[in-house]
Symmetry: C2
Subunit: 339 residues, 2 copies
């Protein structure tokens, strides 16, 4: 099953709606509207049908997933009872949102080839020897992103004023389906809800600068992360064997496979669940597949470039880069205190 989120106009402004996506029929189904109509057909009053439909299908995908197995069971029932009506929209006409609104968002670095390639480049920029720290081979490490700056399919990615070196990253996005803590990898398998495409846009100049502070990427990543176009549920995918392709303005720049991942997704989920736990709707990026970004290829994005990430079994996530924002306030450099 493919599940997404779109924006629709209502009497009180734009509202977020969950949809089932049927690319083979070129359509999406607005689940709240379809369920409202199904309930009317069973004799529910309009008020009761609205109330029940919006409880099952809120605007938040993470809230919907948090209902547990009830959610996907309900989707199957809603779609099974579908008649052609105002809940069915043409795939090409909708305004996409990021398919998940995660309560917390992490991004791993689980492809060894990407890490070798970029550490070599980064080390040169930071004037350090290109030594891969042991920790990469000991734990599936990750940074935490900003879940409030996710953008959807077809949304323009903003270009911050502080960067002149813009890049994309071709990744998978893993969505957690149920809560758990201190899981083993065997247990963790059942906690994967589905997979989406994750474009970890990166401002390479500030990223290299701020990573010297050892607190991890922040402004270098958090201005925008593209996600979508939708989530494919885990039962429909062989997660560890997916072809991944990136095109810039129609030209293929990157090609890889999730089969080259160093940590399996269940190991990543199990590690994250240690001491902290995971909950429904969390988002975990895989890290960039080998040769899956411009930094590995000696290339950069330009304003207006269109980046398409395609992953087998999911679809194509397309985003255009915006133009650089006008220069705003910047912090004034401090002078170190004399010792």
């Amino acid at each position: 099953m493919k599940l997404g989120r779109i924006l629709r106009e209502s009497l009180e402004g734009a509202v977020q709606r969950l949809v089932v996506v049927q690319p083979e029929h070129g359509r999406v189904i607005d689940l709240a509207t379809a369920e409202y109509q199904r309930l009317l057909g069973t004799g529910a009053s309009a008020d009761a049908a609205r109330r029940l439909a919006s409880a099952l299908y809120p605007g938040s995908m993470s809230a919907a997933i948090a209902a547990g197995p009830t959610f996907l069971t309900a989707v199957a029932r809603t779609v099974g009872a579908l008649e052609e009506d105002s809940s069915v929209l043409s795939l090409g006409d909708v305004k996409w949102l990021a398919p998940i609104d995660p309560p917390v968002m992490r991004d791993c670095l689980a492809f060894e080839q990407h890490l070798r390639n970029t550490l070599t480049a980064l080390a040169a920029a930071m004037n350090m020897a290109p030594r891969i720290p042991d920790v990469y081979y000991e734990k599936p490490i990750y940074y935490k992103g900003n879940p409030l700056t996710l953008i959807g399919h077809q949304e323009e990615a903003p270009w911050p004023d502080y960067s002149s070196r813009m890049d994309y990253e071709l990744e998978l996005g893993f969505v957690i389906g149920r809560p758990g803590k201190d899981l083993t990898p065997e247990q963790a398998k059942a906690h994967l809800f589905g997979v989406t495409i994750f474009n970890d846009f990166s401002a390479r100049d500030i990223q290299a600068l701020e990573m010297q502070g050892l607190l991890g990427p922040a402004k270098g990543k958090d201005f925008a992360t593209a996600l979508g176009p939708w989530i494919t549920t885990a039962d429909e995918l062989d997660v560890h064997n997916l072809t991944m392709v990136a095109r810039v303005n129609g030209e293929e720049w990157s090609r890889g496979s999730s089969s080259t991942i160093m940590w399996r997704v269940e190991e990543i989920i199990a590690y994250i669940s240690k001491a902290e736990g995971v909950i429904a709707g969390e988002l975990i990026g895989s890290g960039t597949v080998g040769r899956g970004c411009g930094a590995e290829l000696g290339k950069l994005l330009k304003p207006g470039d269109v980046v398409e990430l395609e992953v087998e079994g999911i679809g194509i996530l397309r985003n255009r880069m915006g133009i650089p924002a006008p220069a705003g306030w910047m912090p004034e450099r401090r002078t170190p205190t004399k010792q």
Copy 2:
């Protein structure tokens, strides 16, 4: 005004409630219950009073703050109409939650003395020269924490299985009151809602290991962050002139002042708002005040230790360390691919 969150028993399990705290009267006021009773007194039906009260005072503090000025105006009206009743609880009897449930959580490193002291210690552990990277003086850098593992006043801090070097950190927690993007520091002043006490518990062994991976702290911080006991609104505090004290088992270990901060809070908010924006309810840690953690003093916490952080104008945040969790699954080390 002092605002917190507590857990109360209801017909359907424990529910989160927003409270006004009056330490001088040794009491807290459950805002939803008090507003329900106020509305009943004005002639509202019980159903309407419950509906309106829960819309103003949901369990989520960030959702309440997101209403804008309506929230604090309503609190003043609710408290002004208070009669002694079931909405008033004894300060000593309540179960505290973290006062804010932030949609995203960052933690800065804005005190130079802490950074000098810990970088010296960290550099020794990482076998590097103790050079402070320039970026600390260029930008108010930060890492992002896990907002799902915040604990409240009096809650026990879990001790993860992967650590034997446990520490506290004495910090301020800044709560954002209204949305804004690309703010100047002058504009950013109005975006601070209030301040709480922030204990950034730290597992120093894994923190030192994972920071070598350049993605920032994760397992070294994300198992627990204590917050509270409540938020003091910004109008009641001189944020840049607060005495900060830490005690372990009643013995003073740390003493500092927020006057030694290198970046003013409005500069921190303005920087974070660049390209990303901020929204109501976000949480920003100040970073540890100089000599505000064990690592700077050559000390560590032991299982069962009681850590009290006291900040002028706010109160005392007290948490006991738990005992180490039993050893669970750990990732199996990978062998680097031959080049």
